[in-house]
């Protein structure tokens, strides 16, 4: 059993070993091993040519990764905190995300880093930015919830010919453990984490674990579907589950407005209207920055009580 953090490191180690085009780029990632020590030791194994420290220049890091990808490398760029990707947004969204469509040239690169709240990281070290990258074309978004997935999905992300944003919930880094496989896991396949027949909770990332806890309380009522990848999205798995349970709670840590839940809600309403036996329900973060002090942060986080309440209401509907 290894932690999710170790699984992520192992995925990079295996890709570095398998393909000499893979390079890691990031701040403090070489000798220091990264702010969270995700890349610890990799510079000793693969050398400072392939595990490369950079200045604090998110835009230039991603831009350089795009250029390097065009000449055949497969760069994996670490954001020290995923919040700082905002400073490299232009390169990822406007350059990497649109290039294949515009002129047929793709860029195989991964941007990865810690996201998510629950550790008093406050407004700039806690965010879940997936919506910002899903509402523009061209970027695949992966958000694993287990060590096994983190390993297999990151390997697929690195091998993917297109830009991938790989989100790692920092709360899970050292808190969850699992057995990892030795193979990539294909992108775009959701996983049913628990079977139920009363309603489906569709979720991903750290929220999967909260959802499983909550589902316990409801016996065989609550099904938990882990999206794993937000783009490509396994819409078929969501629809299949909702067709069976006829009720759905969309649950995530990111802001509710225009979040993944909003998108899924729309798709479910459009396609499964006749199957629904209750209102499509969302449990997600409020439209407010993430507060610092633990009690405030707890109040902000869409936690187990909120989810349980929503499930109860919907089951009784």
């Amino acid at each position: 059993m290894i932690t999710m953090l170790e699984a992520i490191r192992q995925a990079m180690r295996d890709e570095l070993a398998a393909d000499d085009k893979v390079v890691l780029i990031g701040q403090d990632i070489a000798e220091f091993g990264g702010a969270f020590k995700v890349t610890q030791g990799l510079v000793d194994e693969f050398g400072s040519e392939r595990v490369v420290d950079t200045p604090i220049s998110e835009s230039a890091m991603i831009g350089a990764a795009i250029g390097a990808a065009m000449v055949g490398l497969k760069p994996v760029v670490e954001m020290q905190f995923i919040d700082f990707l905002a400073c490299g947004y232009n390169q990822l969204v406007n350059f990497a995300g649109k290039m294949r469509y515009r002129w047929g040239q793709g860029a195989s690169l991964v941007v990865r880093g810690p996201c998510g709240a629950g550790v008093s990281g406050s407004a700039f070290h806690s965010q879940s930015p997936e919506s910002s990258y899903l509402c523009v074309p061209g970027i695949k978004v992966i958000y694993p919830s287990t060590a096994e997935d983190a390993y297999g999905l990151l390997r697929s992300a690195i091998q993917d010919p297109d830009p991938v944003l790989f989100l790692e919930h920092k709360f899970l880094y050292r808190r969850i453990k699992g057995e990892i496989g030795s193979k990539p896991i294909p992108l775009g396949q959701a996983a049913t984490r628990r079977r139920g027949h009363g309603l489906t909770v569709v979720t991903y990332g750290a929220a999967v674990h909260t959802a499983l806890e909550v589902a316990e309380q409801f016996g065989d009522q609550v099904e938990v579907l882990d999206l794993r990848c937000l783009l490509p999205l396994d819409e078929a798995a969501v629809f299949e589950s909702v067709r069976r349970t006829n009720k759905v709670v969309l649950y995530h840590e990111a802001q509710k407005t225009l979040g993944m839940g909003a998108e899924l809600s729309a798709r479910i309403s459009e396609s499964l209207f006749e199957y629904l036996d209750g209102p499509v329900t969302r449990v997600a973060a409020p439209d407010s920055p993430i507060p610092f002090s633990p009690n405030l942060e707890k109040a902000w986080l869409p936690g187990s009580e909120q989810l349980a309440q929503a499930c109860r209401q919907l089951l009784n509907y």
Binding site: P55, S59, I62, G63, A64, G67, Y101, R102, W103, P161
Partner: protein, 318 residues
């Protein structure tokens, strides 16, 4: 430059200018979709620099670097069809004007966001060196573009990584309506490069031979492993930001003064007076230009617009 290269430079300069003149008539006929951006008076920079590249080098041209596309083997029809949004354009109508490229030709398609090409070309140079490939990445920036974050992040990273990258700044005095004096508190762009310990030179941007020679030095430096190099080409934007802009904010005397420094007239005089070319040698090139422009203009004019079927698809490899 060898004599042959001089004739070639002359041909490309004339081709660049004739291409834009032809585009201007398309523009006046409402056949250009969107704005028309000119490189009038700045042609020597794109052509002198692109001619100094080795075949394995890569270049990322911006909006005023039509000449670099031509030197890299693109035809006037590629620019015509791009500007006219035709199905036969390199992007099949998916993107506009100079937003095209092909890594087989070592041309990286730019995005609109100024400065963005700099980090990308740092990555091209660095990534090539990592794989033992001898390749320099060259790109351009306007004086206004040197105020962007990507300019500074990109140059700093290039210098720290000693990336084989050359940046050519075209100091044409105006960024849309903003003169350099309102853009920055320095007068020479080379001062920006000094902060990153990048060797930099000021070059007469209206002298194709000077640009060619300086770019050659810059590429040599970058290729030898010493890191990036910066050239500031002093020049003047002789038209508005684009053709819609009458540029009344540009002092008439300034334009008058620069009209006397036209890079093509100047090079033509040099070829005849200094380098002993015969007028017929030049008119032969002029004829080639005329024929090609006519042929390609006709091709573009007769080309269809794309039907809607090409609007979607190709965002991802699969």
């Amino acid at each position: 430059m060898t004599s042959e290269q001089k004739l070639q430079a002359y041909y490309f300069l004339k081709l660049n200018r004739a291409l834009e003149e032809r585009l201007l008539s398309f523009y006046k006929q409402n056949k250009v979709v969107g704005g028309l951006y000119r490189s009038l008076g700045q042609e020597a920079i794109s052509i002198g620099s692109a001619m100094a590249l080795q075949p394995q080098d890569w270049v990322a041209p911006l909006i005023r670097n039509v000449g670099a596309f031509l030197v890299r083997g693109y035809r006037p029809r590629d620019l015509f069809t791009q500007y006219m949004a035709k199905a036969t354009s390199p992007t099949c109508g998916r993107d506009c004007n100079t937003h095209f490229g092909d890594i087989q030709r070592g041309v990286v398609a730019p995005i609109s966001m100024l400065g963005a090409m700099i980090p990308v070309m740092v990555g091209v140079g660095w990534g090539s060196r990592m794989q033992g490939v001898d390749r320099v990445g060259l790109t351009y920036i306007g004086d206004g573009g040197t105020s962007t974050g990507d300019f500074h992040e990109g140059l700093n990273l290039a210098s720290v990584w000693k990336a084989p990258m050359v940046l050519i700044a075209e100091h044409n005095q105006f960024a849309y309506s903003t003169p350099t004096s309102k853009q920055m508190a320095i007068t020479d762009l080379v001062d920006r490069a000094k902060a990153y310990a990048i060797p930099a030179e000021i070059v007469d941007g209206n002298d194709v031979l000077a640009v060619f020679a300086a770019t050659g030095r810059a590429l040599e430096h970058a290729r030898s492993g010493q890191g990036p190099y910066f050239l500031e080409c002093k020049t003047m934007r002789m038209r508005g930001h684009a053709e819609h802009d009458d540029a009344r904010y540009v002092p008439a005397e300034l334009l008058e003064q620069w009209r006397g420094k036209d890079p093509i007239e100047r090079f033509t005089r040099q070829l005849l007076d200094e380098f002993g070319f015969a007028p017929e040698q030049l008119s032969e090139q002029d004829e080639r230009v005329k024929v090609l422009i006519e042929e390609d203009a006709e091709f573009a004019d007769n080309s269809p617009y794309p039907d809607g079927s090409g609007a979607l698809g190709g965002v991802f490899a699969s």
